[in-house]
Symmetry: C2
Amino acid sequence: MTSTPTAPRLAAATLEPLFAPSGVMVVGASATPGKLGAVMAESLRGHDAPLYLVNNRAAGMHATIGDALAAAGGEVDLAVMCIPAPATAQALRECAAGGVRAALVCAGGFGEAGPAGEAHERAIVQAVRETGIRLLGPNTSGFFVPGRGLRASFVPGVAAVRPGPVAVVAASGGVNHALAFRLQRAGVGVSLAVGLGASLDVGAEDVLEHLVGDDGTRVVALHLETVKDGPALLRAVERLAAIKPVVALVVGRSDVSEFAASHTGALATSWRTTRALLRQAGAVLVDDEEALVDAVTALAGRRLAPSSAPGVALITAQAGPGLLVADALQSAGVDLPRLSLQTQAAVAEHLPPITFQANPVDTGRPGAGFDRVVAAVAADPAVDALAVYGLTEPVVDLPAAVARSGAADVVPVLVGVDGPQGDLDQARESAAALGLPLLAGPTALARGLVALVEDARAQYARSVEPAPAVEPAHLTGPWDEIRAKELLDQLGVRTPPRRRCTNRSQAHEALGTLGGPVAVKLVDAAVLHKTELGGVHLNIRTTAEMDHALDALEAVGARELLVESMAATGVDLIVGARRDHVFGPVVLLGLGGTAAEVMADVAIRSAPLSEQAAADMLDDLQGRALLLGHRSGPVVDRTELARVLTALGGVLRATPAIDEVEVNPLRLTASGLLALDAVVIPSQAAHAGDHGSL
Amino acid sequence: MTSTPTAPRLAAATLEPLFAPSGVMVVGASATPGKLGAVMAESLRGHDAPLYLVNNRAAGMHATIGDALAAAGGEVDLAVMCIPAPATAQALRECAAGGVRAALVCAGGFGEAGPAGEAHERAIVQAVRETGIRLLGPNTSGFFVPGRGLRASFVPGVAAVRPGPVAVVAASGGVNHALAFRLQRAGVGVSLAVGLGASLDVGAEDVLEHLVGDDGTRVVALHLETVKDGPALLRAVERLAAIKPVVALVVGRSDVSEFAASHTGALATSWRTTRALLRQAGAVLVDDEEALVDAVTALAGRRLAPSSAPGVALITAQAGPGLLVADALQSAGVDLPRLSLQTQAAVAEHLPPITFQANPVDTGRPGAGFDRVVAAVAADPAVDALAVYGLTEPVVDLPAAVARSGAADVVPVLVGVDGPQGDLDQARESAAALGLPLLAGPTALARGLVALVEDARAQYARSVEPAPAVEPAHLTGPWDEIRAKELLDQLGVRTPPRRRCTNRSQAHEALGTLGGPVAVKLVDAAVLHKTELGGVHLNIRTTAEMDHALDALEAVGARELLVESMAATGVDLIVGARRDHVFGPVVLLGLGGTAAEVMADVAIRSAPLSEQAAADMLDDLQGRALLLGHRSGPVVDRTELARVLTALGGVLRATPAIDEVEVNPLRLTASGLLALDAVVIPSQAAHAGDHGSL
């Protein structure tokens, strides 16, 4: 584990010298076949720019970096380092001194390799900081730009990766290659593929910022293992996703921290928080690398317009596979709207009467009129995206039939096929020539559609105005329950009527004033778990019951009391805001009760957030039905809930002295939301642990 | 929707004439290229047995079925019908009369096609019943047996499907082809591939029974849309899974019933119940067709020995993809045990010190000694299965290196690779020649491993003795709460001390005898929801409180009362048993409370079941941590819980007069499980609806 600080991000130093270098130098090139320095030099020969090889013992190569730079006459932007860790910092300085503006360091042996490695790491970070050279790596197998023939990679197979619209930004060099190869197998080309490795300088956020201006990139596949600078990453995703789709795969659903640390030298980031915040920033989230490739394949075609609930139609030549697609779509929450009667009538002109035609449309084997069926469905006003599936057949070129329909001029269209490899390859070629995304099989087709829909939803959510700025909280601690509820009052979050009492007669008077039933609670900023301590007495109605409660509270040493009206029954929620150690202020929403707790049914967003985004958190909850009138229960007012959530986020944004606010429970009653208990944790206390990342 | 009964299953009539016919006849063959009767005839020419074509208007074909049979001299086992629905029944009778023992009916237009179709369906069911001919279909695109060149399919691409170890049994002809093609693309061969269509005679259970004795089949891929005869299906899976792995994909996670009904003419079966019961019968369950193919690819190699928790090891040439595999495995509950110090020492001899070597083992690019690393890991006593992953490289034949290690003689070994298509094809060929299952990419590799582990777990669970037979319940209704609790007493399920009271003085006396606090409840077999009616009063301690409760109960018309000791606090469960309309008696386990309810966190098993199987139900629950000492709470005794569940299942098995028993809540307290409320529903009442399939 390393604690070396990363180099400062120099906004001025673009990544152009790294990804579009005028000349390239290999430091530690080799003439011995099979050696990494030889493989790299060979791989770089395909690049359409001058190449300079440095090795002080190989004939025909430049003996020193200086010699190479002199020969190049200042035309070297990128140095590829095939040398051991200890020699790297000095080589970086020599390169930078000679005008080299970017370097790729492939070697391992830095932060992940114990104290000696950490020293080497500090040395190269220092060199980067002092010279301004941009550094990719260390501990990566490189990057490649197929469109330029630029392949800074040890893996010869990358020569087969074709130029195309997808940029791959992977935490790991291995995953970068695996993704690029999977794209190649899917018939999809790559604009840029980067393995970040240890990210001592160039991080995912830098490459994403670079891609904002990269016209060759139409969609981005992002693979994340850890996040060093959460806010910078979210800003970059937000900027990029506004103009082209970003699909993200986050590692770490399970605890892989030990293995991951050996690999990246960094602490694992919370999987759940990272995913939620990336989605909020506009990314489409996927579960594995297969879904990642399916998603970018689909999104490399046309993007849907922003929409909260796009409608998808499916035309299938075989009912069984169509059922698999429909089942996968509906399970992912994608709407398959019933086609209009007009559309159904148009479709029926070309199909036998027994097939299902409302959506999905079951055509049977594509025959005459198939293209008109496709056109009619695409024209239905409820249809925002269309998928067409069929088994490959020698007499039917499905992509061509779809293209003939003109549907792709109306809505984004995906084609799904299944067939033996040779037929599939033919269908891919046909689809590629026609500009139609092609996916192999029902599940891949469904995943592609889900990605289109999720992207449209994310863009819609982002299009909503952000929340207004929030005033700092005027209150200060010590934050006992009463103080915390006064903060909620300021924020406009409803709390039950209450009295602070310091003796028995005040408590009896409060019961009289408030009327029973009341709750009587110990008030002490130092006590976080009142209930466990016997500090909470509920349903007090009579003087006798109050005396009984007061006796018990005296016995546990209570000096101040809160007497409060009991709330009506309802459904309990937990809401809160806290500082995530990677991403900063986040807000949380969950259902109350232990069942929801052990199932980790929680929605998370970065603050500030719009009321719309806050209201949408409800839809993340597996148990949301409980808040929507389950068994004649109360129905949550989404606006009221959104106001509570944005207000809590605002407190953390505006008040550095507060690290966490938790309202547990926030009760949904027939007359709205009511905060029954609240805890505020000041900044110091939050550092004591126990309130870590979700 | 049809209500036609299916033909009776004739145990004597095997499927040999269907899948291994001595001669084949095409009824409705055609000489016109492109017509289905021509495509089918052409497709069947590859079969290594005589072929007879029937068409009364085509030159060179037999004019009638009788002519063809006369020419064949009794050597036709299978008739393939390429004729319209109305002509089918008569053709079936003619075939059967001439000694044909099996038929494939491809046409649609039967039960799914309204009243006319239903009449045709009744006619062919009648013909099947009277002649004993076995019928596959209707409404299917057929089946194929690549090893015999027997391709009764309209899809020419099936010629590319190679012979091999996987049998495909699909509800739909389209899915049958899609799966076979996906297997072809994965380099895996097929022994038999069947699309069942409407299953009027031959159902999934028949084909599975056939596969028990089919030596060419080593693993079975099962696709289900609906289940007609649940018990027969479960019996067949149980028999088959005992000798070869069965992997099942069940459609219907979401509500696809409308489209499905149009396709199959049958009611959708409960997805959740079907999956749970198939798993209990020994099948491995998967979520989509990609996972299905990955699972059978892995299981076509060696099967693991039955085990409740097999240990898996992963060797990876690239850390990043290895992390994806490890994350997927752990998320699926697969154990990656730490390798022994001895193994780690053996591994360390061949690897640089900085890589992770405890499991996963990160080798870096495979070099000298790689095979010895693989051998050492395979020999570790904690390792029951091994996966090796690497990017394809020209100088490294990964399957060959794995084979050299001899690891596959010690444990099942899977190889995972990523590379461009050409390199992947080479790796597949190499692996196939060496008998090693090969999977493309980290997720596919992880899915393969999960399938190996799930199969071993299912076999282990099945190896446990079944539960003992249960005596019929001696009690009869009317089943009010007290009667229901007496049944629980008989079963050995603990209930709180109680008194039945018919007047106020008995109630007061009961409070005195039992001591407070008590619950006082309305007792009436006709009232299912006492609480909603104001029929439940809790925490009664004093005479005054009792009078208050009795007043209220009188007001709602209570004539009989239950006075019962209040139970200690704890965690509430719901347990029950009911008759599923497809599968018969099932038992259910869920957590109490509305949150668990709306999340549908329920475990389901078929009864009878062993105590071991019942205890394992706990592991299905997402919120199981609540029962395992969450926040210093009570820990469930698995044996006690298993006894309750098996006893409830036993009641339904032994007592036809009872359709459902529900204990809600069954409370887990510090001193064990206690049934706080119980409902028994006699058989008549259960047909009133409201207690349908989960």
